[in-house]
Amino acid sequence: MSVFTLEAGLALLGLVLLMIEAFQPDVSRRTLGLTAIAGAALALMLLPFCGTTLPAFMQPWHQLDTLALFYKGFALVTTLLVLWLTLECAPYLTRFTLEGKLAEMFSLPLIVCAGMMWMASARDLVTVFVTLELVTVSFYVLVAFARKSAFSLEAGVKYLILGALSTGVLVFGIAWIYGATGAMSFDGIAKALANPATSKATALFGAALLLCGLGFKVAAAPFHMWVPDVYQGAPTPVTVFLSVGSKAAGFVVLTRALDAFLVPGSIIASEVKALLLVTGSLTVLLGSLPAMFQTSVKRLLAYSSISHAGYLILALACRDSARFDLSSGGIVAFYLATYLPMTVLGFFGLGLMRVNGLGEDLKDFTGLAKRNPLLALLVTISFASLAGLPLTAGFLGKLFVFLGLADHGYWGALSCAVIAAAAGFYYYFKTILAMYTTEGTDVPALSFSVVTKTVAGVLALSILILGVYPKPLQKVLMPAPAAVAIK
């Protein structure tokens, strides 16, 4: 079976669910949700058994390397978690949706997931554009989905305008890249860029615009300003999807694009690298510093997400390390793999609190440890990992980035990263502290379902296990080079 079938099947399942919703309104949302989850889970289970060969007609625009497969799995896991969180948050969410319905919240993620999986395999800019837009337009709908909430609607408007603006920049960039290199495929672009005869200024202009467009998707500074507003306003499951799924997809495209731009002998390599360093440094700082004063935890997580994007961008800048063979694409993948459980877990906590009638402010976290010690512990693990505390997954990702930066001698960027990490300690621990504070709160207990407990527990465990035993993940991400390095 081909992976493509899987993706198509997912999209199809999404359509089927839409149809069911349209024509069989009495099917309960739980059934719909569980069907979607079952479909995604099935796809995830089948993924390892799919062959990696492609039919000839797909090869010009599709590829199935390790990175692509990893991201496909990543997208599926994210979607699964988002769907479960949607189901869990349903009682709260339905208050704000059209007629209390939620069906599209189950079907659209499946389509988005398919889109992200395709994006991971994209081999040319047309595919990138089309799949990216599929995902983005779906997100316009998802962000504004809780339309009766002023926040959700506002987030939707902002995301729409800024997203469309970035799309314009992206297309303009694609045009110029195409103009400079005469190619739409990454291979062709790489080939042209390696040719000294290619016009440098044109290529740089195109690359700059393209990176701006992609930078918007991954929340790179200075194109990050939408993130806090949109993340805060969007329904929590959508926020998770945006911050994990959409961002990961953005990064996979960015990785592919940079693979082309930074091909050996590329005429624009040094400028692009410098841009990455500058952007990355700016991003970590602009993510971390304003976060220190947030009182809304959801918004804080949004800033944290910006900051993490900054580390990822810095990781992308550390290409071709002679000795550190988790090559930057690999570091990014590793980082994202560690980023997934911690971010999702953090938002899980937020979502569960919402369902239990609490807000998303710091003061709502006060005394969480008394309300539900388990949830407090899980959120603690998540935040500790986000802060980059050792023995959690978050630390390793950061460590690799630091190592990469130091290995290349990017000291300026390294110091920015270190400052940002230091600021990070502050705002994550602020929340952790609030959870264990008990003064001045009456503490009604807080409960959540066994399955959610299990899911959250698994996420927390994976944070801890990845933090102390990352070898398997590394093997998945870097099978061949690692084998060489070990000798």
Partner: protein, 193 residues
């Protein structure tokens, strides 16, 4: 293409574009946009991209702009009267635009690609006919041999030959758009707007 015509079309496009940006009444803006897009479509035609030009008129100047007008009418959006235009956004908008235009011009003037002109790069239709012949596309090859550019056929061929998958994705995208419109703008039964 005669330079005069090009400048005329460019002026149409940009002039009406300027009107979109400056017009106080949304209806004016929408109509100006349609006009601007028409000029743009003509520019597409001047680039031998007939199909795109037609699509531009059909989809943009036709459907999309009608949709805009429709919404403006539906929502009864008035001109921005009463509200003073604040200076800061306007100035910064102009500043950004001027800078960007300057940058584009600088890049264009600095590169050799831009100096290609239509006369220097004529379409070698007969060559293409020879190459495409192998693909067993008799009508296209025939048109090319006859010296006419079967633009719609060629783009259709490309779309369905190479970008079939992408078409499907765009189809899905349109469906999502539809669903989105329903979800986001449907009136709630019995409820307030």
């Amino acid at each position: 293409m005669p330079p005069l015509l090009f400048y005329l079309l460019a002026l149409t496009t940009l002039g009406f574009g300027l009107l979109v940006v400056t017009g106080r009444n949304p209806v004016t803006c929408a109509l100006s946009l349609a006009a601007s897009f028409t000029g743009l479509a003509a520019l597409f035609l001047s680039l031998d991209a007939y199909f795109i030009g037609i699509i531009q008129i059909l989809v943009y100047a036709g459907a999309v702009m009608v949709l805009f007008l429709f919404i403006i009418m539906l929502l009864d959006i008035k001109a921005e009267e009463g509200k003073q235009r604040s200076l800061v956004p306007v100035v910064s908008g102009i500043l950004v635009a001027v800078l960007l235009a300057a940058q584009v011009s600088a890049v264009v003037s600095s590169t050799g690609i831009a100096s290609k002109n239509a006369q220097n790069t004529p379409l070698a239709l007969s060559d293409a006919a020879g190459k495409l012949g192998k693909a067993a596309l008799p009508t296209i090859t025939k048109d090319l041999k006859e010296g006419t550019l079967p633009d719609a056929k060629l783009i259709g061929f490309t779309l369905f030959d190479r970008y079939g998958f992408h078409l499907q994705v765009v189809g899905l995208l349109l469906l999502v758009g539809t669903v989105g419109v329903v979800v986001l703008s449907k009136r709630e039964k019995g409820g307030a707007p």
